[in-house]
């Protein structure tokens, strides 16, 4: 009896596993295809016979070279993270712990950045960055990327500081800490999860951003996504798909690693109902 029922269950479950397995393959296949394809032999690329790194050699030798664009991307991403963290750390502290004139107005102004399309800000920035001598610079682009991160980052840091139990801050003040020492000695530890979240999202957004560099960067200052898209168009009209796959792999691997490392932390958090309230 028992055996039959488990066989019956298997008969019912098999289509389910086939269906969901197929679903998983649809989502994973393109990533695997690009990763494997970047090493595989393919006509019209630098890797015609056998497996190897030919496509990565193409990338390394394209115009200023993979190294330059990778370096630009890293600089822009790290700077964008630094700017975002600094502005939202102090800003969140101010919004959460102090009352000052213009507090609500400024907070709404920061949130309103969400409502403005990228393009609406980028068109005047083409002119404005020139005026402040930041046109076609990595620093300028990093600042703009940080600006687009501010609504989420400031909101996140404000609620992080507001969630710090009152008595922790009180105790610090009783002990004679100024608000500056309290911030660096005590509060920073309490808001660390918020900082990590903000920093990670800022990094991923800056690393992957295409539109801001497209408007504001050119030549040897291009970031990797922009250089890859331009490379596709410029190799004498013939598209080198092998090199494209290699470029996509270089862009994607850091994101996937970051995602898998932190996914445990976040998805578990969601699943355990941490956000229920």
């Amino acid at each position: 009896m028992r055996r039959r029922s488990s066989a019956a269950r298997l008969a019912i479950r098999t289509p389910y596993f086939v269906l969901t397995g197929g679903l998983a393959i649809i989502f994973l296949y393109p990533l695997i295809w690009a990763g494997v394809g970047s090493f595989a032999p393919s006509p019209g690329s630098n890797q015609v016979e056998g497996w190897g790194f030919g496509n990565y050699v193409t990338l390394a030798n394209f115009q200023a070279g993979l190294g330059t664009y990778l370096f630009n991307s890293l600089v822009v991403s790290v700077l964008a993270v630094l700017f975002t963290l600094t502005l939202s750390f102090f800003g969140g502290y101010a919004f959460a712990c102090f009352r000052f004139p213009g507090r609500n107005g400024l907070f709404l102004l920061v949130l309103s950045i969400l409502m403005v399309p990228y393009a609406t800000l980028l068109i005047p920035l083409v002119i404005w960055l020139k005026t402040v001598h930041l046109n076609n610079t990595l620093v300028g682009v990093a600042i703009i990327m940080a600006v687009f991160q501010l609504p989420f980052a400031v909101f996140m840091m404000r609620i992080s500081f507001e969630a710090v139990p009152r008595d922790i801050a009180e105790a610090a003040r009783v002990d004679g800490c100024s608000n500056w020492t309290a911030l660096w000695r005590i509060l920073i530890h309490a808001v660390k999860p918020g900082l990590i979240t903000v920093g990670m999202f800022a990094f991923l957004a800056a690393w992957n951003d295409f539109m801001v560099p497209l408007y504001l960067l050119g030549g040897d200052n291009q970031t990797l996504p922009l250089a890859l898209v331009n490379m596709r168009q410029q190799v004498m009209g013939v598209i080198d798909y092998g090199a494209t796959q290699a470029g996509v792999t270089v862009m994607t691997v850091p994101c996937l690693i970051l995602f898998l490392v932190l996914q445990r932390h976040y998805v578990r958090g969601f699943m355990s109902g941490a956000l229920k309230g």
Partner: protein
């Protein structure tokens, strides 16, 4: 202000100190927001009223004409039409499939955990790299579909307007559906199991549990997903710029792409691009006010 006198000196001192400290801590944020957000916004409104060339700069005031030129541009109405069409398709499919997948992987088991990760993984890629990846995937030269395509006599998926639209929609589903699944999953977790058990005890069918308990209680999560999805789709750029270049024959040109096109390609006019981007900004504000109204109105009824 008179009240200050009645407050004990120590408290007044504290309030003044708090004001000064708050202003000091918020000053870097204030400066950056003013210089890199407020000034450009004011500038874009000004530019939208001038004849501002990409090369050659400001050629003087050109107020209503700039906007008239944009509205009369032969690409304008097709771009608006296509953007709206794409937004409707993308939103319906993303929210619908996102909800379906959320229900599918809702319970925790090892297999469903793996499934969740697989579906969510593409959401970690950048939109530009995902678009490049699908550009290669769809290619008639190296893509895995090349055999099937030549058999049914289609030279290129991206070669026809419908093909280009649906190929892009598929890319967007692949890239974003996991994210919306996660948002809705969080919403589903917020619905207490007691409600489901009570409904079961009362003999409710699965379908009626879904329509009478799950959907109404999922409303806040569905509202947030819809607003994000509509906003994101109305501003679509990367995927079309990279995958279709607005083609074939401008059939997949979105409004934001037209902004870029006016500024750097066809007209090389920052003034016209500014005018169109101001139109896009105002349209987006109106759309979001309508959405918030509609969703808030629904909450009052409930």
């Amino acid at each position: 202000m008179k009240k200050v006198g009645t407050v004990p000196a120590r408290r007044m001192n504290f309030a003044a100190k708090s004001r000064r400290a708050g202003l000091a801590y918020v000053s870097p944020l204030t400066v950056v927001v003013l210089v890199f957000f407020v000034v450009p916004i004011l500038l874009v409104f000004y530019m939208s009223g001038t004849d501002w060339k990409l090369l050659g700069g400001n050629k003087g005031w050109n107020f209503p004409e700039n906007y008239a030129d944009v509205l009369d541009n032969r690409m304008f109405w097709p771009a608006v039409g296509f953007t709206v069409k794409y937004t409707v398709i993308a939103t319906v499919l993303l929210i619908g499939l996102g909800l379906g997948l959320a229900l599918l992987v809702q319970e925790s088991s090892r297999w469903k955990g793996l499934l969740r990760t697989a579906i969510l993984l593409p959401a970690a890629t950048g939109l530009a790299s995902a678009s490049l990846l699908f550009y290669a995937l769809y290619s008639p030269q190296v893509g895995p579909l090349k055999g099937a395509l030549s058999k049914i006599g289609v030279a290129s998926i991206l070669g026809s307007p419908d093909g280009a639209l649906w190929a892009t929609v598929f890319l967007i589903l692949w890239r974003y559906v996991g994210f919306y699944m996660l948002l809705l999953l969080v919403g589903l977790q917020g619905i207490g199991t007691e409600l489901y058990e009570a409904a079961r005890v009362d003999g409710a069918k699965t379908l009626s549990i879904f329509t009478h308990i799950t959907l109404p209680l999922l409303r806040p999560a569905l509202a947030l997903s819809t607003i994000m999805c509509v906003t994101g789709s109305l501003l679509a750029f990367d995927q079309f710029y990279i995958l279709t270049k607005g083609g074939p024959d401008g059939s997949t040109m979105t409004v934001v792409q037209l902004v870029y096109n006016l500024a750097f390609e066809s007209k090389r006019s920052l003034g016209m691009a500014a005018a169109l981007s101001v139109v896009a900004l105002l349209a987006l504000i109106v759309v979001n006010i309508v959405q918030l109204r509609a969703l808030r109105g629904g909450d009052d009824e409930a």
